[in-house]
């Protein structure tokens, strides 16, 4: 039997599911814990109902310096000893397994609802997870300690989520985050809807990450169908992904400026975010790029006359961005306001398994485009932008650096599009395989894991949005900060509720 790291599993390279080691519970646990100590990271950890009964728990691990992926599994029924006490990055995954499959991770330090799944996968939680209505929040007691509850309906146009602060005066002692309000049953829909139309569900996992999630889902499907995209399709996907990153990073820079009442940058960046969305609309007919990414490639080409137009608009944008970026980031009062707020240490980042901007702002250079390259990113490299302080300023700076690098990438790619078609055939899926498709969305690593059954149907479609890894970072960043800085901290991560809740 192969070991978990001998499968030849890579980003978008499918392997027979039968090859994935099926270990005893104790060997499974020891192997995962040892791998994490050796520098592997949990990409996904999920349950999958076994046809013969019981639940197969599958762990997908990633080794970023060598670009390797590994997978191993175990079959449990009822319960198993939790990984979380020794491996904090498993925390939310194990709660999810308990909720989706009714399996109890014994000894889990904080087994509480993730989203409340009364019907998911035909199982009930069987009392493993407490009813969220009667859930007792963690409380701090003491003289002048008070509790602040916010949400799920917020004081703005924001997705629903509940935040419970334990505060002493203005100082936050503890933040507990309760999500699940956006839960729409996405994984179940992806497993039951037929491809290629299921891509419309993938496009709606997180409406600000249409390209990221659709590309990851299609990447997994293409690998299972052995469909090969043309170089031109890969380049257009890369352009769309970076335009999505530009739109969101620019929007976030504006929103951070807005939260510290630096209005000029808020107004200008807010408008420039729209310019990026309008570029996506020119290419795909929709401001968020819906309709573009399809199994086998892309649905819309960028013809030569559009290249000229897109380039011209990008060059104007580049000039305007530079001016506004300098205006904001050179301003001493802006720097002072962002510095030292919402600090996440490098150790916390590694322990929690953070990804994307949040990790890179702690000098942890995780970037799927660099570590597990795929598509156009195998040929065209975007330098990984990092900062070291782990505070709001660091997350702002990483975004600003990425904006400049993505913009240069898009201009370069659109100017030298490879010739050829844009949409290859993508037929039936290979039976009995497991595939992992990773994509560096603008928030960080998006993972779609698909397992097919013996007849080539989707048996399990696991989605891991970067927010699922990163919500814990916000809770870790808040203690010691003023409660009035919560909106700023929250915005500096800008995590997805919909992507977490699925």
């Amino acid at each position: 039997m192969k070991t978990f790291d001998e499968l030849g599993l890579r980003n978008r390279r499918a392997v027979p599911f039968a090859d994935v080691p099926k270990e005893t519970v104790s060997r499974f646990r020891d192997t995962v814990l040892q791998a994490v100590r050796d520098g592997w990271r949990i990409v996904a950890l999920f349950g999958c109902p076994e046809p013969a009964g019981g639940t197969r728990i599958v762990a997908v691990l990633g080794e970023d310096t060598r670009g390797e992926l590994g997978a191993l599994s175990t079959v449990v029924s009822g319960g198993y000893p939790s990984l979380t006490p020794e491996c904090p990055e498993a925390h939310l995954f194990e709660r999810e397994i308990a909720e989706q499959c009714g399996i109890v991770p014994e000894g889990h330090p904080w087994l509480k609802p993730v989203r409340r799944h009364p019907v998911d996968h035909g199982t009930v939680t069987g009392g493993a997870v407490k009813d969220r209505e009667r859930y007792a929040f963690f409380q701090v007691h003491g003289e002048e300690v008070h509790e602040v509850a916010v949400g799920p309906v917020h004081a703005g146009i924001i997705e629903p989520g509940h935040f419970r602060f334990q505060a002493h005066g203005e100082e936050v002692l503890f933040l507990e985050i309760m999500l699940g309000y956006q839960h729409r049953g996405v994984e179940r829909l992806l497993e039951t809807r037929a491809w290629p139309n299921a891509v419309l569900v993938a496009e709606s996992i997180a409406g600000d990450t249409v390209i990221g999630h659709a590309s990851a889902a299609c990447g997994a499907i293409e690998a299972l169908a052995r469909s090969r995209k043309t170089p031109r399709a890969q380049a257009i996907r890369g352009i769309a992904l970076e335009l999505e990153r530009l739109a969101n990073h620019i929007g976030d820079l504006g929103a951070i400026a807005g939260d510290i009442a630096y209005q000029p940058a808020a107004a200008y960046f807010g408008r420039m975010r729209g310019e990026c969305l309008n570029l996506l609309m020119t290419i795909s007919g929709n401001r968020y790029g819906r309709g573009l990414i399809r199994p086998g490639g892309v649905r819309f080409d960028i013809p030569p006359e559009m290249v000229t137009e897109v380039r011209a608009r990008l060059e104007i944008l580049a000039e305007e961005l530079t001016a506004v970026g300098r205006l904001m980031l050179k301003n001493a009062s802006v720097q002072a306001r962002l510095e030292g707020v919402g600090v996440v240490s490098r150790e916390t980042c590694v322990d929690l398994g953070l990804v994307g901007v949040a990790a890179r702002a702690c000098e942890v250079p995780r970037d799927v485009r660099h570590d597990h390259p795929y598509g156009v990113f195998r040929f065209a490299h975007i330098p990984v932008a990092t900062a070291w302080a782990g505070d709001v300023l660091a997350r702002t700076l990483v975004r600003w650096l990425e904006v400049q690098r993505s913009l240069a990438f898009v201009i370069e790619q659109v100017s030298a599009l490879p010739r050829g078609g844009i949409l290859a055939a993508c037929g039936a899926l290979r039976p009995g395989e497991l595939v992992v498709a990773l994509e560096e969305g603008w928030r960080g690593e998006i993972a779609h894991v698909i397992i097919t059954d013996d007849s080539g149907r989707v048996r399990r479609h696991k989605v891991v949005d970067p927010s699922f890894h990163n919500w814990g970072a916000l809770a870790a960043a808040m203690p010691g900060n003023q409660i009035s800085d919560f909106p700023l901290c929250n915005k500096s991560f800008n995590l997805s509720y919909a992507g977490h809740d699925l």
């Binding site: 799920p152 839960h183 807010g270 609309m281």
Partner: protein, 261 residues
């Protein structure tokens, strides 16, 4: 300070010419879908199998009708008809007062009747809205946020989003209404003082959108909350929302859609 003034000068004024000037949507923009009845074959149901949404519904004469409220504005909904009967126009005006108004044999929508005079007198020049996202993907909310940027600048028409339902004249619901948000949606609605209006934004709030028939959602605004304005889209373009709101308030002239004096 000089940098600031220079940047301010370079940025200029960026407000959209809407509603008085011409707005150009790109050639590929997918606006209101249209059905060419002459190409729609009698009794042919082929498109319904390939359709990723509930866009096509049985029409009165055995041909198809379009339910624009269900449209996800995907390229596949147009190509689902082998005979080329379904296409997208570049018309961004999609809003309707009644749910039934969104079902149309040709895709053309009826004129949008403004609120009755009394309510219009109250809200016509100052409308405060409370947004609730309930089982959405955050796409519609992103466009609602964009309404407040300098391009769309909704506040120039006296329409604003406010922080509390107690301060609001109306409720904007987006998302398929997840079971986990059902209670919060009802309670927010009840917290808004009468008279109040309700606006359903996006395919999800109208019929569940891409999440339709998931056991976790209500397929849109729940029964018991009366909707005054339906705005289709996935997500609707900010101008689609703005056009719907202004016509609801009786602020636009019919036809050209210019702002009333």
């Amino acid at each position: 300070m000089l940098d600031f003034l220079r940047t301010r000068w370079a940025q200029g004024t960026r407000t959209s010419p809407f509603p008085d000037g011409a707005i150009e949507f790109p050639e590929r923009f997918r606006g209101r879908p249209a059905l060419d009845a002459s190409r729609c074959k009698l009794g042919c149901q082929e498109c319904r199998g390939a359709m990723p949404s509930a866009l096509v519904v049985p029409g009165p004469d055995g041909r198809a009708s379009l339910d624009i409220g269900a449209c996800l504005f995907s390229p596949e909904e147009a190509t689902a008809c082998q005979h080329g009967a379904i296409s997208y126009t570049r018309d961004h005006r999609l809003a309707a007062r009644g749910r039934a108004d969104l079902v149309s044999g040709s895709g053309e929508l009826p004129g949008l009747e403004a609120l009755e005079a009394g309510t219009r007198r109250l809200f016509g020049r100052s409308l405060r809205l409370r947004s609730v996202a309930a089982g959405s993907c955050n796409g519609c909310e992103s466009e609602l946020v964009a309404l407040s940027n300098v391009v769309f600048d909704m506040a120039r028409f006296g329409v604003q989003f406010v922080a509390s339902p107690r301060h609001a004249d109306g409720l904007v619901i987006s998302g398929a209404v997840s079971r986990n948000m059902l209670d919060a949606v009802h309670r927010t609605y009840e917290a808004i003082p009468d008279p109040r209006i309700v606006i359903a934004v996006g395919a999800c709030a109208i019929n569940g959108g891409p999440f339709r028939d998931s056991p976790e959602v209500e397929n849109g605004v729940p029964v018991g909350i009366p909707v005054d304005l339906w705005i289709p889209g996935c997500p609707p373009h900010p101008l689609t929302v703005l056009d719907g709101l202004l016509r609801l308030l009786g602020r636009l002239e019919e036809g050209q859609g210019r702002l009333k004096a």
